[in-house]
């Protein structure tokens, strides 16, 4: 998916040679073309889901992929964003809902991160799992905030400046705009020192703290930012589908989120976009296997981790690098791709080895 293949000036640091911004432009154009090509309600449904889940996965990429926080809470923040947006936009415009989703998820994520700030690893993972569990119970029981049983129907389609995005195509473009913004923000993070600091924090936090990385700020910031992505995605999800219930945000969603990131490739911001496409598209293709689908899914998850740790994006990068080498045989084998390697060395594993 990376964009133009024009050779970059050699003086630029490798991080800028990755064409993130061109990639965002290509992605935006691709969404635009897709929205023109699709011509069925079913196709639009898949397209909308892909766009929303891409944003959700991008947030998880920041939390888990970049800063190495093993969180199960992404699905809960997705749900929180959905409920908060419905609650805030009740009788008002969509922007109120969006603002509500952003503010509520960011505040709750910050509060939660502060509560568990002293926990690491397993403790953090279980705390986030418990948080998700609490969230589903609250969605079901706290009827002043949600609805009886947590089921809300008839959520209006999103609107902006009194224009309602109620056709499949306009909604796809609308959601695509959000994905482009999310990608853009992620691309800026990718290019900023923030990403390098986060990787340092992820791979060895003692050393990172010693060399002056603001560990606490980074950890809280990445968690809140990634969770807010989930909140925005939840807001979009609620308004695009028009119906939410606590079951929409169950444990299956949590596993799907892991699948999005791992299958797509944990080491690249394009991984979750590919992974989301797979998670949305594959179940439809696997319809013929019927009830064996979940079985295949689980086996696939294990198989990908065991055999193919870089995910789908790893495959794309491999093909890309080969293509370059074929086109420009003069370059040394360690040519245009190799300088990135030191930065990416630990990316596939996602976290420090524990011996």
């Amino acid at each position: 998916m990376p964009g133009s293949d024009a050779p970059a000036p050699p003086a630029r640091p490798p991080i800028y040679r990755r064409h993130q911004l061109a990639g965002v432009a290509v992605a935006a154009v691709a969404v635009g073309l897709l929205s023109l090509m699709v011509d069925s309600a079913f196709g639009y449904g898949l397209l909308h889901s892909w766009l929303v889940f891409s944003i959700l996965g991008l947030g998880f990429y920041l939390v888990f992929g970049v800063s190495g926080q093993f969180a199960f809470s992404q699905g809960a923040f997705f749900g929180l964003g959905a409920y908060a947006s419905v609650w805030a936009s009740d009788g008002r415009s969509f922007l109120w809902g969006l603002a509500g989703a952003v503010v509520v998820t960011a505040l709750v994520a910050l509060a939660f991160a502060l509560v568990v700030v002293r926990s690491d690893h397993f403790y953090f993972a279980i705390a986030t799992l418990a948080f998700s569990f609490i969230a589903t119970v609250v969605f079901r029981e706290f009827e002043a905030f949600t609805a009886p049983g947590g089921e809300i129907v008839g959520i209006p389609k999103p609107d902006l400046f009194s224009h309602t995005f109620d056709t499949g195509r306009s909604l796809a473009l609308f959601l695509g705009g959000f994905l482009a913004l999310a990608l853009l923000l992620t691309a800026f993070i990718e290019r900023s020192p923030l990403k390098r600091e986060a990787i340092a924090f992820r791979d060895n936090r003692q050393v990172a703290a010693t060399v002056g990385v603001p560990v606490l700020r980074l950890r809280l910031g990445m968690f809140v930012l990634g969770s807010t992505y989930a909140g925005v995605a939840g807001c979009l999800f609620a308004h695009k589908s028009g119906f939410i219930s606590p079951e929409s945000f169950s444990l299956e969603l949590g596993i799907d989120i892991f699948l999005i990131l791992l299958l797509g490739g944990i080491g690249s911001m394009w991984g979750p976009v590919l992974g989301a496409a797979f998670v949305v598209w594959a179940p439809e293709q696997l319809r013929f296997v019927g009830e064996y689908r979940a079985l295949i899914y689980g086996a696939l998850l294990v198989a990908v981790i065991v055999a193919f740790p870089k995910g789908l994006i790893g495959l794309v990068e491999l093909v890309w690098a080969q293509g370059r080498r074929l086109r420009r045989p003069a370059t040394t084998p360690s040519g245009p791709v190799a300088p990135d390697e030191p930065l990416d060395a630990g990316v596939t594993a996602g976290a420090p080895e524990v011996v």
Binding site: R118, H121, F133, A294, Y297, G298, P309
Partner: protein, 291 residues
């Protein structure tokens, strides 16, 4: 008072089942450093195997329990072989996600095999009630508490008195040193995965008579077991058992005296409070750095 006794005994029984699941979890964690997220689905699977053995094979109940525990031992070993052994040297996160994948496979397998309709498994004592201090208490709850007590003592002896327990403790203290001293890591991890899955089956058949068995049957015991391990500081057997009992009691008493709608989440509120205020657990901890 009667109400208190009923709630207390129910909470104690709940805590006892959680303690068994938590012991199984602790066993794997000590020997390999892995948190097994398939534990909950192993509880469910064990229960379904027992249902199958007693309903379809028409075995007596205790034999069905035996079949379930044995079958789950094998399943545990298989999980170790397919979801853990190939990636033993990779990041701990990868291993944990792999156990999630195993959980997904088990879950899907159960649905294919038994469908999604809720099932029932009777207890050996039926639904008999005894009076304790004037309160009516199901005998099953007393059975659960008794079996758990035996189980905990057995585990404590296993850990402290046998070569197996010594090796597990050696692995938990210093993996590499243990390996260098000749502890057979592969065999130990197979054994602990098997034993842990067997304990999950035991917990499943004990708690099954008190509720309907569905595909999500094992999930909350697993989550409570994790919380119990955190309360106990991921360390000693005693700490985990006390943590488990605390969780069972908080859930039942909180549900009985505060609001039953939120009964499920009181234990987690307690756990989050412990994580915030005393992250090493109520009784201190020796396992900090591992996941």
């Amino acid at each position: 008072m009667e109400r208190f006794v009923t709630l207390f005994v129910t909470g104690l029984a709940q805590g006892a089942v959680i303690a068994i699941v938590a012991l199984g979890f602790l066993l794997i964690y000590k020997a390999t450093g892995v948190v097994n997220f398939a534990q909950g689905d192993l509880v469910t699977l064990g229960t379904y195997v027992a249902i199958w053995a007693s309903a379809d094979l028409e075995l007596p109940l205790l034999a069905a329990y035996g079949v379930a525990i044995t079958a789950l031992f094998v399943v545990g070993v298989l999980i170790e072989r397919f979801a853990y052994a190939p990636i033993r040297n990779r990041s701990i996160h990868v291993v944990v996600i792999s156990t999630l994948g195993a959980a997904l496979v088990i879950r899907a397998g159960i649905v294919l095999w038994r469908g999604t309709a809720p099932s029932r498994l009777e207890g050996p004592l039926g639904f008999d009630i005894v009076e304790v201090l004037g309160a009516r208490v199901p005998q099953q709850n007393l059975l659960i508490i008794g079996v758990t007590a035996v189980c905990v003592v057995a585990m404590a002896l296993l850990f402290s008195r046998t070569a197996f327990g010594r090796q597990v403790r050696a692995l938990a203290t210093d993996r590499m040193a243990a390996q260098l001293q000749g502890v057979r890591v592969a065999r130990m991890s197979m054994l602990t995965f098997g034993l842990s899955a067997g304990l999950s089956a035991l917990a499943g058949v004990l708690i099954a008579p008190t509720r309907a068995v569905t595909i999500d049957f094992g999930f909350s015991p697993m989550l409570y077991a994790f919380a119990a391990a955190i309360l106990g500081g991921m360390g000693s057997i005693a700490g985990v058992v006390v943590g488990a009992v605390a969780i069972g009691l908080v859930q039942q008493l909180g549900g009985g005296y505060l609001s039953p709608d939120y009964a499920e989440i009181y234990p987690f509120v307690l756990m989050l409070a412990v994580i915030a205020l005393r992250p090493q657990g109520l009784f201190g901890s020796e396992a900090g750095a591992r996941l």
